[in-house]
C-alpha cells in the first residue's frame, strides 16, 4: 500500500507527538499556511469559475447546500438520542459535522491530482457554500424553550461569525479575485499554485501534532465520540456521493463531494459556535472533528472513498 506524500507529513506529526518530541511549528507560520491554503483554494476555484460559468452550476449549488442541511440533522439525532449529549452540545457537534474541512478537501485534491483523476475545477465554490448552512442549522437545533444559552446569544455577533469568519472571507475573496483577474493568475501562481502541495504538507505536519494532542483529551464519552466521529464521515460520504450522482458530477467530483460530506469543520465552525453557544462543550466537538475525523479521513477515508467510487462508477 503506497502512501500519499502529503499524508506522510501528517503521520510524521502524529509520530513526533507520540514520541514526545519537543518540535513545534511556529504559530505565525501555521496561521500563514492556513491563509495561503484558503486563498489558493479560492483562487483556483475563481479561475475555474471564469472558464466554466454556466446556469447548471446554480442548480448544482442548491443541491450541495442541501447536503449542508441534511448532515447536521443526522449528526444531531445520533449525538442527542444515542450519545445522550446535552441538547446544546449535540447541536454544536452537529454544526461541526455539517460543515466542511478545508484541510481534508486540500488533501483529497492533492491525492486526486497525484492519481490523475479529473474533477470539476469550480469545486471551491461548493466548499464555500458548505461552510454556512450547518452553522445556521446547528443554532436552530440548539434553540429550545429551556435552553439558557439563548439568553447569552448575541445574534449580531453570530451572524458576523457565520458570514465573515476567516474561511469565508479568504475563500470567497480568493474566488472573486480569481474570477475577476483570471488572466493575471500567472503572476501569483508560483506561491499559490506551484507551492500548494508543499504548503499543504507543512500544514498537515502541524495538524498531525494537534490531532495527537487532542485525542488524549477525550475521557468520559471516548467510546461514543470516537464511534460517532468515524460513523459521520461514512454517512456524510454516502450522502455526498449520492447528491454528486444526482447532479451528474464526474467520478472525481463524486469523490470530492463524498470527501466534503465526510469532513468536519475545525476552523470556521468552532469560532462561530464559541460566539453563538458559549455554554456548549467546544473542546469535545473540536477533539472529535480534529482528533478523530480528520485523521480517519486522511488515512482511511479518502483512499476508501476513491476505491469505492472507482468500483461503483467503473
Amino acid at each position: 500500500m503506497s502512501i500519499d506524500i502529503v499524508v506522510a507529513f501528517f503521520l510524521l506529526g502524529v509520530i513526533a507527538r507520540l514520541l514526545k518530541s519537543p518540535f513545534t511549528l511556529p504559530e505565525a507560520l501555521y496561521k500563514s499556511l492556513t491563509i495561503i491554503l484558503m486563498l489558493a483554494i479560492g483562487l483556483k476555484g475563481g479561475v475555474a469559475l471564469a472558464k466554466h460559468a454556466s446556469a447548471n452550476i446554480i442548480t448544482q449549488s442548491l443541491w450541495v447546500v442541501s447536503l449542508g442541511v441534511i448532515l447536521p440533522l443526522i449528526a444531531f439525532v445520533l449525538a442527542y438520542a444515542i450519545g445522550r449529549l446535552r441538547r446544546i452540545d449535540a447541536a454544536s457537534l452537529a454544526a461541526h459535522y455539517g460543515s466542511v474541512s478545508v484541510g481534508t478537501y486540500a488533501v483529497a485534491v492533492a491525492v486526486l491530482e497525484n492519481r490523475g483523476i479529473a474533477y470539476e475545477a469550480y469545486f471551491p465554490l461548493f466548499v464555500v457554500l458548505l461552510e454556512m448552512p450547518a452553522i445556521a442549522v446547528g443554532l436552530a437545533l440548539a434553540n429550545s424553550p429551556n435552553n439558557s444559552a439563548n439568553k447569552s446569544t448575541d445574534k449580531r455577533e453570530v451572524l458576523h461569525e457565520v458570514f465573515f469568519n476567516q474561511g469565508m472571507v479568504l475563500m470567497t475573496g480568493g474566488l472573486l479575485i480569481g474570477y475577476a483577474c483570471a488572466q493575471q493568475m500567472p503572476r501569483i501562481s508560483p506561491l499559490f499554485i506551484d507551492l500548494f502541495p508543499a504548503v499543504l504538507a507543512l500544514f498537515l505536519l502541524e495538524m498531525g501534532m494537534v490531532a495527537a494532542d487532542r485525542i488524549r483529551a477525550l475521557k468520559d464519552s471516548i467510546s461514543f465520540l470516537i464511534t460517532f466521529a468515524i460513523a459521520m464521515p461514512l454517512i456524510g460520504a454516502l450522502f455526498g456521493a449520492a447528491i454528486a450522482n444526482v447532479i451528474s458530477l464526474s467520478p472525481g467530483g463524486v469523490i470530492l463531494l463524498a470527501v466534503l460530506g465526510a469532513s468536519a469543520s475545525y476552523i470556521a465552525v468552532p469560532a462561530a459556535m464559541r460566539a453563538a453557544l458559549p455554554e456548549a462543550d467546544h473542546g469535545m466537538s473540536i477533539t472529535a472533528s480534529l482528533g478523530v475525523t480528520f485523521p480517519f479521513n486522511v488515512i482511511v477515508g479518502i483512499p476508501l472513498y476513491i476505491t469505492l467510487v472507482e468500483i461503483f462508477l467503473a
Partner: protein, 83 residues
C-alpha cells in the same frame, strides 16, 4: 452529558451503534481485500472500534468488575486447594 448516560438502555444503544459502525467497516474492508483493493486500514479500524466499544460497555455496565471478582474468587479457591 445527560444524567441517563449510564442507564442500561443507553449503554446498550451505544454498544449497538458502535458494533454497527465497526461491522460496516469490517465488511467493507474485507470485501475490498477480496476484490484486490486495499481494505486493510478499514478492517483494522473496524476491529479497534469493536474492541473499544465492547470494553467500554463491559466497564460501564459493571460486567468487567463482576468478571474480575469471579476470577479473584476462583484464584483464591484454587490457592486454598493447593495449600
Amino acid at each position: 452529558m445527560r444524567s441517563e448516560l449510564t442507564t442500561s438502555t443507553a449503554l446498550q444503544q451505544q454498544l449497538f451503534f458502535g458494533l454497527s459502525v465497526a461491522s460496516t467497516l469490517l465488511i467493507m474492508g474485507l470485501w475490498l481485500n477480496t476484490t484486490g483493493e486495499a481494505g486493510s486500514a478499514a478492517v483494522l479500524t473496524g476491529v479497534l472500534l469493536a474492541t473499544m466499544n465492547a470494553a467500554q460497555y463491559m466497564m460501564r455496565s459493571g460486567k468487567a468488575a463482576r468478571l474480575s471478582n469471579a476470577a479473584t474468587k476462583m484464584n483464591n479457591s484454587v490457592r486454598g486447594d493447593t495449600l
